[in-house]
Symmetry: C2
Subunit: 451 residues, 2 copies
């Protein structure tokens, strides 16, 4: 997927595999130097990404230049390590000597972070999978180009600890920002780390897992932009801003319909989180380079009887900061102007309540931004191509790439509306940003050494 990359991947049990891959636009050359027995599961994936089979019991030898920064967490963390007895170690492809590009994705729980991550890793190349052979409750996702780390792993208090102290997981006191900073910095500098695991099933802190520097490290969770030091390490940051109305509708959908929770308990849970959410999570959006905002539709009048439709239709805004290095905001028709566009008409027929796009310049927390907005939903995913062909600066590599991505993941939530569309576009933008940074570093080796 990338114009030029050098990928060094460490794999499994007592074996170090070196795969050196140099890709030009059209050619792929793969040279392997295997120190002992070959890794049977290692394969070159069909879409050009590198896929390593992560064995069941891993005892990993890293390249000599790779140091490991272990978690220096307190006693409670260690005491509460759960069921995964063996130290879980995962490895991933790293852009050796190029430095890891770090992306932050902030959102409340239940706002679609994991769907976004699946879209992002798909755009970056290859499937995102849980670390094979590690802790089955690991929150980490590995794909060919990216490692996605869930920041819940940096909880300094487990579930019992939070109850004892009377703080929610959203409170900074429940999170270890010092460790988060040190480990992200280490990865960015090319060093592997032993990252803790927060076990969502047990509410305990499990034994750490090894994270080696990937090409792209995505930090997804509640606080990627909360701590100034961590924020300073981010090459790009995104905030998923789901309005209370929509969040409530989604929670009902998920927790009531799928998990059998009562409406009251869902309301109570949202209310309980709200003060900390407003104090510590929401303010991060002012630092984001891109915000995906999900709001109730404006296409259906308030007095419309059919409330069902209203819950199913969203107005989604992609708010893109201007002047961010390596990030050129996407636009509709004419850059920098103000446009509203109802594509439904003679060429595209839409069912009620239709589709409406907008594009306009705005300010967001005092910063100049460009906003793309989509209200409504696609009747058929084929219609995405109609929209895609009128959007500019999408950073696609081929015709219909956005549409193809949407079709590929048609079963993901939001595939028929602006959340899926804008998540896909942000994914393309991150790929583009990564490639620009790599190209910059290749052009200035001094920069690469620093990064």
């Amino acid at each position: 997927m990338f114009a030029s990359l050098r990928c060094t991947c460490t794999l499994q049990a007592n074996t170090v595999h070196w795969l050196t891959v140099v890709r030009s636009h059209e050619q792929v050359r793969v040279s392997r130097s295997i120190s002992s027995s070959p890794e049977p599961g290692a394969e070159w994936s069909s879409n050009g990404g590198l896929r390593g089979a992560h064995g069941a019991a891993t005892s990993l030898r890293l390249p000599s230049s790779t140091a490991i920064l272990t978690s220096g967490g307190g006693g409670r963390r260690r005491r509460r390590w759960g069921a995964a007895a063996a130290a879980s170690r995962v490895s991933t492809c790293s852009a050796a000597g190029r430095g890891t590009v770090v992306i932050g994705l902030a959102a409340d729980s239940g706002c679609g972070k994991s769907t976004f991550m699946r879209r992002l890793t798909s755009v970056l190349g290859g499937e995102a999978v849980a670390p094979r052979g590690g802790n089955p409750d690991s929150n980490t996702l590995i794909s060919d180009a990216a490692t996605v780390v869930c920041l819940d792993d940096y909880h300094s208090l487990d579930r019992t600890g939070r109850k004892e102290k009377g703080v929610t997981a959203l409170h900074p006191r429940a999170n270890d920002f010092d460790l988060m900073y040190r480990q992200v910095k280490a990865i960015k500098e090319g060093r592997a780390v032993e990252k803790p695991i927060y076990n969502h099933a047990t509410g305990l802190l499990d034994r750490p897992e090894l994270i080696t520097p990937p090409k792209i490290l995505v930090l997804e969770g509640l606080h990627p932009m909360y701590d100034e030091r961590v924020r300073g390490l981010l090459d790009f940051s995104i905030y998923l801003d789901v309005s209370n109305e929509v969040k409530f509708a989604w929670k009902i959908q998920r927790d009531m319909a799928e998990r059998g929770h009562s409406l009251e308990s869902i309301k109570a849970s949202i209310e309980a989180r709200k003060p900390d959410f407003d104090a510590y999570i929401d303010p991060q959006k002012q630092h984001a380079d891109a915000v995906i905002e999900v709001l109730p539709t404006r296409l259906i009048p308030d007095d419309d009887d059919d409330d069902d439709d209203e819950g199913k239709v969203q107005r989604v805004k992609l708010i893109m900061k201007e002047g961010v290095k390596h990030f050129a905001p996407a636009y509709l028709f004419d850059e920098g102007s103000t446009i509203s566009w109802i594509p439904c008409g003679r060429k595209l027929s839409c069912s009620y309540p239709g589709i409406k796009f907008a594009y306009f310049p705005d300010t967001y927390f005092g910063r100049e931004v460009s906003v793309l907005e989509m209200d409504g939903k696609f009747d058929k995913l084929d219609e995405v191509i109609y929209v895609e062909s009128h959007l500019r600066n999408l950073s696609t590599k081929y015709y219909r790439e956005v549409t193809q991505q949407m079709l590929k993941h048609a079963d993901f939530p939001g595939s028929n509306n602006g959340t899926g569309l804008f998540q896909t576009i942000v994914g393309l933008k991150i790929r583009d940003l990564y490639e620009q940074i790599v190209a910059d570093r290749a052009a200035s080796p001094a920069l690469a050494a620093v990064a």
Copy 2:
């Protein structure tokens, strides 16, 4: 200006000049066959149009195939012939054997017909001038490609006659539709006519002038689409629909500021015309292929103190009928959709109250139409290129043609707003329509014979 045309032009005193011109995209070949002494004033104009010097006293010999249909008006017409003692005869370039393309332009007086005509003839090639050497009060305009006839010339009653009968010039009874039909039909069939002249200075009917078949005949006036038979002869029709508010502001501007009329007399004149206008002029717009509608701006709130601005800013709509042969409506960004566009922003800065465009499908008197709308005015004519580059289907022949036309006639009323812009676009559309008709006839000689 035209991709392919065959132009036969009859010129001056006792001489017939034949200029046969066959133009391909790049080449111009001119062959002259002169029967006696050459016409010193005849020249090939720089822009490729044919310009004939119309001598002072014309006694014209037409090609043998050209018959002359004289006006068969009644006694009053003949009795009231005014000062122009000699029979005025004008001639113009004709597309021999190809048939004349006939365009109708309807509007009330004071609605910008003459400005539109100057824009149109400029787009068609060459300057539009009064017939040289004819009646100095002739209403006809001659340009290289087009002859513009004012339908006031078909008044059956002169000013005194109208007073005697108590009818306005807008009433069908004051106009000779039989003659209008016969003469337009004759021209369309390739025959010259002796068209009456209504003298606006004296209010009398002057001696007829000769009109030979031009490539394009434009019928401008109050009633080009009133009579069903005349309407049936039109290849394309336009209605200039100026709202009462704007019409009133324009009349004040012209009749009060420039002609010293009182506000009361202007109001009275408008009121007096209104019943006949509503009964006989306004309904023609339902037959028009294109309507240019001029409305008060919506950019300035009603309660804005600065009324001056409001008078100077208009919202102009170009309503284009769908499904008209040889006429593909212009559009903004995406054909068939609904768009609003404020070009003012990061790339284009506009002074108050800015500029707003719209494009949308609509119905107009039960017919499907596409509408382009411009509210506001250009601060600088350079800005037109910014707009032009986002409009599609303009039928321009080269980059910036719309902008160049607007700049060329910057002193014309409406050059800084939608009236000038849409008049220019309609001009381009008429040129395109003409070329398509000529091409069709060239491809089907049988059609040409009928036309």
